[in-house]
């Protein structure tokens, strides 16, 4: 293998599994250390810079970082990264003086944002400090989009959402609330320099052809619409017997909301086996904790109505059958089950929908009637129109929408300055030695052995009685500290300097996880086989040095490196050093600011 090029920011970025997995690439270990140090404002601002909604995400994020967390590979469970973010948000003091200054002298460019959700708000956050004039259009009465209408208040208190939405709106965004945009053409006619569409995936899937759908219509609801009606206080109660169809996070929110609105026998019914449910495991856990049963392998067959009123649903019991290629089909067992109910909530998927974009204004639509959006620039075929968030390619999550917003803001800024949108700015990277002295490092190498700490909850009865009472209490300071100390500091990189090595093997001997090897060079496949412990995790790179004096090379399997620093500690010549790698993804105009 060739020596690893550590000057490529991607190499060390990949080692920081959590940050790499995060769509917005938030520097996770950096803010976790700040939390442990009690520097909540600093921790919050690192988050705010990167993911814009730390308080919201600290409660509701889909946490792609946690399955990626290295701790999960050496221990039972990953670090509770998401809930640590909340610790920063909960414990911070007033941070408004740290928000970017908004120039009084505007740059003369006008941008319209359609939809007031996380993607649009991120665009505003990135562009307002650059002097843009921004108009935001949304059909709701407040900003936040789906974060407001679909995430129930017992998971995300309105005050938290308001605070973080207002940090952005208070920058001077001109809001046009309660105003549904019905024509993109009319927006374009207002001569904006750029238009960003962040309208989400607003159409909930229905089962229009199921018998009884029309007759029982009054008590059959689309999940997301129903959640919005609850959030906006149009709906205050539901029948005693409720069936929730679907196995995603929306279904979990629906069932938990239903028991808070008077549902007594609330059931979640899914077509597939439980193990295939799309909902995040922790959201399923929360529903189960509230004693909501989940029925698997039940395929909806008909709505049963009596005298024009919904009285139940008929299900076909299926079983999963796998063919030779492992492809699953759900085959009917012939058994039918009838479940009586007063209401049905359908949470079986969401679609994008663009009836308001005229097809003759220059935006190309593909075979599925979706606009063509560039994966990197978020630009459509109409150069001044950009699309991001769920609106771009269908339902994802808040953190992905934020990541889209950042990238779209870069593109919009480049477009407004007549620069090539495909020329993407490089991230801001820093690599600094952490050595302070003898056995002394700038980071705390004493990692806690504790199992993952459990977030304390409200009393179940009290929580179910009050729709707006937040169920999770969040970690307090000391629990937050304990959990923060579980972080392995994967951003503190083991950096090897071939010329300094005297091949004494001290690092190889001390490494608690046997990831360092001094062996003859070979192809990657062969090296992976020949290491002390075979490097079977192909997602994780091998760090290969230049050729050493004995013609061997140092090969380190990054997979389960604990970043404990013992290799550097035991190296007599300083060939190993622990260097903190800090990567901030580029933001709009970062290329111009540097000049």
């Amino acid at each position: 293998m060739k020596p690893t090029d550590i000057s490529d920011p991607d190499y060390f970025h990949k080692v920081v599994d959590c940050q790499y997995a995060c769509p917005s690439h938030t520097p996770v270990p950096e803010y976790i250390r700040l939390i442990a140090a009690g520097r909540f404002n600093d921790a919050y601002m690192i988050n705010w810079q990167s993911n814009v909604f730390p308080g919201v995400l600290g409660r509701t994020c889909d946490r792609p970082c946690e399955p990626a967390c290295r701790r999960g590979r050496v221990d039972e469970e990953p670090v509770a990264i998401c809930r640590l973010k909340r610790v920063a948000a909960d414990n911070k003091t007033d941070i408004r003086d740290r928000l970017p200054e908004i120039p009084k002298q505007k740059n003369g460019k006008k941008v319209a944002l359609i939809g007031g959700g996380p993607a649009s708000l991120t665009v505003a956050r990135d562009l307002m400090p650059l002097g843009y004039d921004i108009d935001l259009y949304d059909d709701q009465h407040k900003g936040g989009g789906f974060m407001r209408s679909q995430i129930p208040a017992f998971r995300l208190p309105e005050t938290v959402l308001d605070e973080e939405v207002n940090y952005i709106l208070d920058m001077g965004v001109v809001t046009h609330f309660n105003q549904e945009v019905t024509s993109l053409k009319s927006i374009l006619e207002k001569k904006y320099d750029a238009v960003f569409v962040g309208t989400g995936a607003p159409r909930g899937r229905d089962l229009p052809d199921l018998p009884g759908r029309k007759e029982g219509g009054a008590n059959i609801h689309i999940g997301i619409n129903w959640l919005a009606s609850v959030a906006f206080e149009h709906i205050h109660k539901i029948g005693k017997k409720v069936l929730v169809l679907g196995g995603g996070n929306t279904a979990m929110d629906c069932c938990r909301t239903a028991i808070r609105l008077g549902g007594e026998d609330v059931r979640v019914v899914v077509r597939s086996p439980k193990s295939d449910m799309k909902a995040s495991p922790w959201e399923i856990e929360d529903a189960v904790h509230e004693d909501i049963p989940i029925y698997e392998n039940h395929n909806p067959k008909a709505f049963i109505t009596e005298q024009g009123r919904l009285v139940g649903m008929l299900f076909d019991v299926v079983e999963p059958v796998f063919d030779d290629k492992g492809k699953r089909t759900l085959v009917s067992t012939g058994e039918e089950v009838m479940m009586p109910c007063d209401d049905v909530l359908m949470a079986i998927g969401q679609l994008n929908s663009f009836p308001w974009i005229e097809r003759d204004i220059g935006i190309e639509f593909n075979d599925w009637d979706m606009p063509e959006v560039d994966k990197t620039t978020f630009q459509t075929s109409l150069p001044q129109v950009f699309i991001g968030g769920d609106a771009a390619w269908g339902p994802e999550n808040v953190i992905t929408a934020v990541a889209h917003g950042h990238q779209a803001a870069i593109s919009i800024d480049k477009h407004c300055h007549s620069e090539d949108v495909l020329d993407r700015p490089a991230p801001d990277v820093n690599l600094v030695s952490q050595k302070m002295g003898f056995h002394d490092w700038l980071y705390d190498v004493h990692v806690s052995d504790d199992a993952r700490h459990i977030v304390p909850l409200q009393d179940k009865k009290a929580a179910i009685a009050d729709r707006k009472l937040e169920v999770e209490k969040g970690f307090d300071f000391s629990q937050g500290y304990e959990e923060a100390m579980r972080c392995l500091n994967c951003d503190v990189q083991t950096v090897f300097e071939t010329d300094r090595c005297i091949e004494c093997d001290a690092c190889e001997d001390i490494c608690p996880v046997d990831c360092i090897n001094f062996i003859d060079n070979n192809t990657e496949d062969n090296l992976r086989e020949q290491l002390k412990v075979k490097a079977t995790n192909l997602d994780q790179d091998l760090y290969v040095s230049d050729t050493l004096k004995t013609k061997r090379v140092m090969v380190k399997d990054e997979n389960v490196c604990l970043h404990c620093g013992l290799c550097a500690e035991r190296c007599p010549t300083g060939a190993w050093d622990m260097k903190k790698f800090l990567l901030h993804t580029a933001t709009a105009a970062s290329n111009r600011r540097k000049k």
Binding site: V74, V533, C564, G565
Partner: protein, 350 residues
């Protein structure tokens, strides 16, 4: 201002046939200088014992005084241990071995401990063929007292102080050969591929097994002018061949080209396969081994690998004809059979 070893280990590292994980063979974190060769030897001992499925509590590690003699703290934390008096490791080991011959005795010593203050003990424990593995961690200097030349420092070799040694060195392997050790080997701490199979063979050897491991002192004796530094040793190694240790009852699957390897069968039936230089000399001949060491020395090189092996070696217990049961396991009835037996014995002497 201190450092600890994390408790996590590689999730895919397995347990050996005895059911132990590698962690159960580890000791405390080393306090020797970073880069010390001794730590590599500790790691090799840990790996050897793990691979051989030895029960940690059936091992006794005994040492004298010095950097080398500190190492038993850093391996086999679950074994018996005795950090004894300077140069007196052999007699303490002898005592322990006499009382309980069922343990594996791992004697760890240094060049000062064995070649200076303990030279007499070194000679006699070999002469008595005590059943033990005797490892000398040889760095040619007194590391614990700031690096003065030891008795194994080669004439002309200069450490950090820059002054060359004026005396000739003691070659412990030659001494061991002369005094009747059953297995004699020399290794380099920086070459675990060779060190580990040799430690395994020494453990399996009945009687006295001696390994002289050249183990650079990074702090005081790792200069280009020192014959015990990493660089010099690597440049002057003359290995007696690549070595594989093949445990007893293992089907030999490695295919050695004819004439390229030879097997040394150990006491319990396990084998050492030596490749390269296969036809060198008769490993069971002391004379040939002596010759070989001298020939290589004349070329200013260091002979490493298995130097001598006596397949018929015995041990002290066999020589002095002790009972089969370990003495500490004998009951009072067996040890003091009573006045009748005594009277009978006395009668025989009348």
């Amino acid at each position: 201002m201190t450092y600890v070893r994390p408790n996590f280990r590689h999730p895919e590292s397995h347990r050996n046939a005895a059911g132990y994980s590698i962690k159960q063979y580890e000791g405390a974190l080393s306090t020797l200088c970073a880069g010390c060769g001794h730590d590599s030897i500790s790691a090799a001992i840990i790996k050897s014992c793990f691979d051989l499925n030895l029960a940690p509590h059936k091992i006794a590690k005994i040492s004298g005084i010095g950097c080398s003699s500190k190492t038993p703290t850093y391996f086999l934390g679950k074994a018996h241990g005795f950090n004894s008096v300077h140069g007196r490791m052999p007699s303490v080991t002898t005592g322990a071995n006499m009382a309980n011959k069922d343990l594996l005795y791992l004697g760890v010593s240094g060049d000062g401990d064995s070649a200076s203050i303990g030279l007499g003990q070194f000679a006699h424990v070999i002469r008595r063929q005590l059943n033990m593995v005797y490892i000398v961690m040889n760095n040619g200097c007194y590391g614990l007292t700031k690096g003065q030349d030891s008795a194994t420092a080669d004439q002309g070799s200069a450490g950090k102080r820059g002054v060359a040694s004026v005396f000739d060195s003691i070659d412990l392997c030659q001494m061991a050969l002369q005094l009747g050790a059953g297995l004699v080997a020399r290794c380099f701490s920086g070459d675990k591929k060779q060190l580990i199979p040799i430690i395994k063979a020494a453990i399996k050897q009945r009687g006295f097994a001696f390994i002289d491991v050249i183990s650079p002192c990074v702090t005081f004796n790792n200069t280009p002018t020192s014959t015990k530094g990493y660089e010099w040793v690597r440049d002057h190694l003359e290995a007696s061949g690549t070595i594989d240790f093949i445990p007893d009852k293992t089907e030999i699957t490695v295919d050695y080209p004819p004439g390229s390897s030879r097997a040394v069968t150990l006491h319990d039936g396990s084998q050492l396969h030596l490749q390269k230089n296969a036809q060198d000399y008769d490993l069971a001949s002391r004379k040939a081994a002596m010759n070989r060491i001298e020939t290589v020395k004349e070329k200013h090189k260091i002979l490493t690998g298995l130097i001598y092996h006596n397949p018929d070696a015995t041990d002290t217990h066999e020589k002095i004809q002790t009972v089969d049961t370990a003495l500490n396991a004998l009951s009072q009835d067996q040890l003091c059979p009573g006045s009748e037996v005594l009277a009978e014995l006395n009668a025989q002497l009348r």
